[in-house]
Symmetry: C2
Subunit: 195 residues, 2 copies
DNA sequence: GTCTATATCAGGATAGAC
DNA sequence: GTCTATCCTGATATAGAC
């Protein structure tokens, strides 16, 4: 295993531990055990606890970008509507990597309320996501104004974050969360001009 | 100052400290200083750290219930539409108590992902809120089906939580958060049957 | 680069006086 | 009920060998 692989393995482990215990519950010792390395090595590579969190946020963002766009090479291309649903509903699946990402994402957003140094990365990731959703909406409603698309995308992504929190905190069943999201997509598309 | 008053003062202080530092950042010592008492007294009244959190969640729920319904006795009665906007937008105001409540609420929801003992109180509070919003929607759209009202209320309240998180984590300006919420109310009302 | 061992210290919790 | 003083655990972080 190369050094780069090992660093990646540590960040994968960090995502798992954060999903399991939260940012608050992340213990460097537990992370070390999860990754099968010593605590000293973690500090060697990531400097300190804040460094672990920062790098893990980046890692999660990258991974989300990939599971959003990576598709089997032989799969039929998605139509825009399917792609839009995918993009939003992907955050709401009971699949390890996704659940980890969503949980870690929620945690990191919550943490960012009190740690300004996470804010920039968070704001940027949000911006990218909103832009992506707005673009997909634009494909489906080419005549809609750019501002209207952005507002709709902000509402949809904020809703997904909201229902995701409820899902992960056990307040809302997953299927219900997905249903609310699907309906909201429907509603926004109607709002942007009927089909 | 009576004992009951003192306990209330401690919980008010807890809400302030949680809003400022987060659940993870809550130090019993800082709480004690904020409330002007000793740490020993906190433990005397609340047993342990978990007890502080549990009681504080109850406290902010009660307080939110009151600032939602308390109104100057001489004020003109709100019409249902205003009342609906109030109920949802009240969580999005740059007023100390509200900001505290919203921040603490977001924190506690995030914490509940990993601490099952907070879940019940959280789920119950959410249920009450959804029911309240659904009832207000029902006043405005008496012909709508109950299930449709509930779904709309779930979407709206989840959206408010989502934009609230973004607001408090510095990703979205307050005015924008309010605007998105207002538009969403508009959209849900249209969806439930035009005015 | 990676480990074992350990320093350091913050903060939760309690004892005991008043 | 409330305080002062203190204990002690658990977690971050580092020293130094390999």
């Amino acid at each position: 295993m190369t050094v780069a692989d090992r660093k990646t393995a540590i960040m994968e482990a960090a995502a798992r531990v954060i999903a399991r215990r939260g940012v608050r519950g992340l213990r460097v010792e537990e992370l070390a055990a999860e990754a099968g390395v010593s605590t000293a090595l973690i500090y060697y590579h990531f400097k300190d606890r804040a460094g672990i969190l920062r790098r893990t946020l980046e890692f999660i963002n990258d991974r989300a970008a990939h599971y959003t766009t990576d598709r089997a090479p032989d799969a039929a291309p998605l139509d825009p509507r399917e792609e839009l649903e995918q993009t939003l509903l992907l955050e709401l699946q009971d699949v390890d990597v996704v659940r980890e990402n969503s949980a870690a994402w929620g945690e990191l957003r919550a943490t960012a309320m009190f740690e300004p140094e996470l804010r920039d990365a968070l704001a940027e990731a949000t911006r990218v996501w909103v832009r992506e959703v707005a673009a997909l909406l634009g494909d489906l409603r080419p005549t809609a104004a750019a501002a209207a698309l952005t507002v709709a995308a902000e509402r949809l992504t904020a809703l997904v974050e909201g229902v995701s929190m409820r899902w992960l905190s056990g307040t809302l069943p997953l299927e219900r969360a997905r249903e609310l999201t699907r309906d909201a997509i429907e509603a926004e598309l109607e709002r942007l001009g009927g089909p």
